[in-house]
Every structure is written in C-alpha cells, then in structure tokens.
Symmetry: C2
Subunit: 133 residues, 2 copies
C-alpha cells in the first residue's frame, strides 16, 4: 500500500468538534495565550472561559497543541498544520459518509441544487485549472 508523498502524515490524534474550534483560532494566528483564544472564541461561541481552557488543555495532552512555558503566561501553538488535519479528517469523513468517493459527494451536491449558481461557476473555474486530458 503506497502513499503518495505528503499523504503519509503521522497519526493525528482525533480532534473533537469543539476542539476544532480551538484549532481554528490557533491556525489563524500562533502562538497565542489562553486568554487570546478565549477572547476570540467568545465572539463566535457562548463557551465559558473555563470551558475553553479545558478544551485547550486537552489538545495539549493529546499532543495536538504545544505550549511555551517560558513566560509566566503560557502561549500555545498548533503541532500540526491545518492542511494535514483537514486532509485527514476529510478522508475519514468521505470514506464513512460517501463510501470513499469524494466525487459522489460533489455529484450529489451539484444535482441537489444545494450550491448556488455562483458556487457552481466557481467550481467550474477550479476544475478548469486542472489540465484537461
């Protein structure tokens, strides 16, 4: 079973739904203090600071987030790139939900008119950037 190049990421620990929110703010900017993250998330969620802190700590335990403890106030940063996490999640998602074929998902979404015309045009553009064979 060969993996093409960049596909062989080490096993990324599983990241729960809530934890993804934390990761998203860390990928947006890093390092950040817990308080930075709390402030960011209080705009988009209604989580209490303690809750956010717990999620952050769990990500540290899972070795998905690193901590710099040099300063009195710690700073946190992601240990995996957003791209590799996205790819891993997407692969397992597509496998579970669409039997492994991303095409199935796209076909369905195109047929169901779930995508706006703009979306479809955008898709065309993206697809057309790939050389036709």
């Amino acid at each position: 079973m060969k993996m093409k190049g960049r596909n062989m990421e080490k096993n990324i620990p599983s990241i729960s739904e809530s934890e993804w929110e934390i990761m998203n703010v860390l990928w947006d900017k890093a390092p950040q203090t817990a308080n930075d993250i709390i402030l960011s998330l209080q705009e988009s969620t209604d989580w209490k600071p303690k809750t956010i802190r717990t999620l952050l700590d769990r990500l540290v335990q899972k070795d998905v987030v690193g901590v710099n403890k040099d300063q009195r106030v710690y700073t946190f940063y992601p240990l995996y790139s957003q791209e590799e996490c996205q790819r891993a999640e997407t692969e397992s998602f597509i496998k579970r939900i669409y039997g492994g074929a991303m095409k199935s998902m796209l076909v369905q979404f195109i047929h169901e008119d779930t995508l706006s015309d703009d979306d479809i045009n955008e898709l065309r553009t993206i697809l057309n950037k790939k050389p036709k064979k």
Copy 2:
C-alpha cells in the same frame, strides 16, 4: 458558500461513526433483520454480534431507524434517506473543518491529486449540464 433550498430537513439526530456503518447497510437494503445486518458487517468489521445489536438499538432509540415488530424476528429500516443524512453531515463537516466553504476543500483536494483526472472530467461534464449564468 451557503446552501439553499430543500435544506430545511427536520433535525436529524446525530449519528456516530460506528452507527454510520449500520446505516450504510440499511440504506443498501431495507428492511433487514438484525441478523442480516450482523452478517453484512462481519465482512467489513470485526465487531461482535452483540456490539452491532447495541448500535442498532441505539439508532432505534434515537429515532433514526424504525422497527417492525409484527413478526417474531424484528426487521429494521432507516427513517431518513441517505441523501438527507449525507447532506446534513456534510454541511456541518464543511462548516467545522473548512469554515463553511466547500470551495476550500475542493481547491485543496484538487491540488493534492485526491481527485483523479477522470473524476475531474466527469465533474466537468456534470457541471456543464447545469445552465451557465
């Protein structure tokens, strides 16, 4: 990239990873007895029959699967279509992982050659049948 239209499905209870496997066999064919399902899944998983049964019962409790108890041996069937479940899952997935933009996912996967050239061509064809605006 927002989704429109027939998007107002009733709230589908959340279906866990393992439960999706059960659903997949039920969507493939329904109704089926617990034993049918067990046999199906023993080919693709290493779950014990009791485990499969538990997952099935939980889906029934969640009102995602229905039961026909007329016969001595019950039969089970999905209460939601595969398409609507897929759509719901995909929307929450895309939102969480790609900030709501399916385009982001596509761009990434096209670049990474996760979609084959054939897939891409096929998608182009499908898209072209959609009216351009």
